[in-house]
Amino acid sequence: MAEITLAQVSKRFGPVQAVTDLSLTIANGEFVVLLGPTGAGKTTSLRLVAGLETPDDGRVFIGGVDVTGLPPAARDVTFVFQQYSLYPHLSVFDNLAFPLRSPTRRTPEDEIRRAVGEVARLLRIEDKLQNRATQLSGGQMQRVAIGRALVRRPAVYLMDEPLSSLDAKLRSELRIELKHIQQDLGATMLYVTHDQTEAMTLATRIGVINRGRLVQIGTPRSIYEDPADIYVATRLGSPGINLLPRALFPTLEAPAAAATIGVRTEHLAIAKGQNGAVTGKVDWIERLGDQNHLHIDVNRQQIVSLVDPDEGLGVGDEVAVSLHKPLFFAADGQRVR
């Protein structure tokens, strides 16, 4: 296990600046999740750590050693790829055994069988070991790919959306499993995902990447409660944060530069009647079972709020809206306090 440091790393592909001036330290045993929209540079960041790309600028350290010039095999990392990573000409067993049979890591055959069996049990693919890798479903393939990373004990685990093609149930099971494994091993992990639940539940820290830049990094809680700008604020939360013009709440106390008010769905207090400072009308209700999403029209601005199903509100009702913990953003999107 080791610490990873990226020091002012940049990578450009022709006209595309994929990663810009990325500085990030992942402590030994830490689980860092990179979150960002498609094309943000998440995969590129992982590939830079793995040695599959060489940075144009900056340096990469693993366990305090400058590995910038080293080939992937010399870096002792594993990588779960976003797609295509099982060797199609090999069986599932041979796929899992492949890293252990590498010239740099020759392992006795009985030790390989033990390690592969253990990982297969963990990922529930024991009965598929003799299948060709091409005869698996997408979710099974992805589990084998994860298995190939778990079968050895590298300095660093890199995972690029490893759970994306699993069904919801398996995904949540494996999510918990991964977290356990990571904690048991004290593994250093850099993990990419689109899924905010994954990010929130797995991460020690979340790094939010947008257009090749690391916008903010911090604990899931601080990213959620204390976003640095509008982009980060919209990244987390479901349904997303309500972004409303400052003018909608004239009586609210706010910094002078505030142009937009952000308020999370659970930070809206909704009460029947018109006794609040701001009133709106219930437009429609999304019923999700355990909770309802209330869509409220305030001066032709849509606000979404979470309410209890027993609240007794119906479409067309007049409601008073008040805000808890509003976040303020300047016209350029930056947070103002």
């Binding site: 793995a50 599959l52 095999a73 594993t78 990588f79 790829f81 890293p99 010239p103």
Partner: protein, 322 residues
């Protein structure tokens, strides 16, 4: 390229009538294509008089008695003897000897067919191995690395096939004479390799392009060097393409006639220029020529049949991925 082709494979299965029609066309084509081969095979088991009789004798055991005379004449050289001398000889010790004597001749030694056939084997397989080996390396490099002027180089490689190779026969003839490569096996191997390598590079580049890089990257992360990853991951997946390319190269080198006539006459002569000039008594010895041709077909037949599974998948240019 593959995208368009692979969708063509996912269309619903053809109806019974279409299948029947397709089957009929295939059978018809096979008949037309097989008749000359059948005729060659039949001629090889006729006697010289039967082979040129008119009307032609078609059905063995009905129209003519099969004979191994063609094969005897193919493998042996003979000389005409007087009746007295023939009468003075001890009894013939082989079937061929007996047939030869019935034509008033004796076997005086082996013919050149076997050495010519061996030359063909060495030159064709040697140049195929070399073309496919070089082609695989070059195709891998073109597919995976930043090669300066890559497109120009690829075009240049292709451009060597833009005219029939025989168009440069005279310069090659002069060059080979100068270099002492005329009538050598090495010279023929190099020549066929230089013709085939451009085809090999282009075909194999297509196949290797279709193997996602992620496999090699995964292998390199799993602790393998690029070369080991190439051997363990790329080569096994490129087998189909390599085999298909090898068959194309082999067929060209095996059948090549014009350069063989021009550049080889003795030690390095291949079978194609040798077979048609097998002369018998009073002209062409057709059964011997047919026997030589029949045997000449066998290696390529075996090679193709052994590898036909790969060939079928290969000529669809990787559209069917397994």
């Amino acid at each position: 390229m593959s995208g368009a082709l692979s969708t063509a494979h996912s269309v619903v299965a053809p109806s019974g009538r279409v299948k029947l029609l397709a089957g009929a066309i295939v059978v018809l084509y096979a008949l037309v294509a097989l008749v000359p081969l059948l005729w060659i095979g039949l001629t090889s088991i006729k006697t010289p008089p039967d082979s040129i009789s008119y009307p032609p004798k078609v059905v063995p055991f009905v129209h003519f008695e099969p004979s191994i005379e063609g094969y005897c004449n193919l493998f042996n050289t003979r000389s005409r003897q007087t009746a007295d001398y023939l009468a003075s000889l001890p009894p013939a010790n082989s079937a061929c000897e007996e047939i030869t004597r019935s034509r008033s001749m004796v076997v005086v030694g082996p013919s050149n067919y076997v050495p010519r056939f061996l030359n063909s084997l060495i030159i064709a397989f040697g140049s195929t191995l070399l073309s496919v080996g070089l082609g695989t390396c070059a195709a891998y490099a073109f597919s995976r690395f930043k090669v300066p002027m890559k497109d120009d180089l690829l075009f240049f490689i292709l451009s060597t096939r833009m005219m029939p190779p025989i168009a440069v026969a005279i310069p090659i003839f002069l060059m080979y004479r100068e270099l002492g490569l005329s009538d050598t096996r090495l010279g023929m191997i190099l020549l066929y390799t230089s013709v085939n390598v451009s085809l090999a590079v282009w075909l194999l580049k297509g196949f290797i392009d279709e193997i996602p890089r992620e496999y090699e990257e995964a292998a390199m992360i799993d602790g393998y060097t690029r070369l080991q990853a190439f051997r363990k991951v790329v080569l096994p997946q490129a087998t189909t393409g390599i085999v298909a390319t090898a068959i194309f190269c082999l067929i060209f080198a095996w059948n090549e006639y014009a350069f063989a006539v021009l550049l080889t006459s003795g030690t390095a002569q291949t079978a194609p220029p040798f077979i048609p000039i097998i002369i018998g008594e009073g002209g062409q010895d057709w059964p011997a020529v047919a026997a030589g041709t029949t045997l000449f077909l066998i290696p390529i037949l075996i090679f193709t049949v052994l590898l036909r599974k790969h060939l079928l998948r290969g000529i669809t240019f990787g559209a069917v991925r397994k």
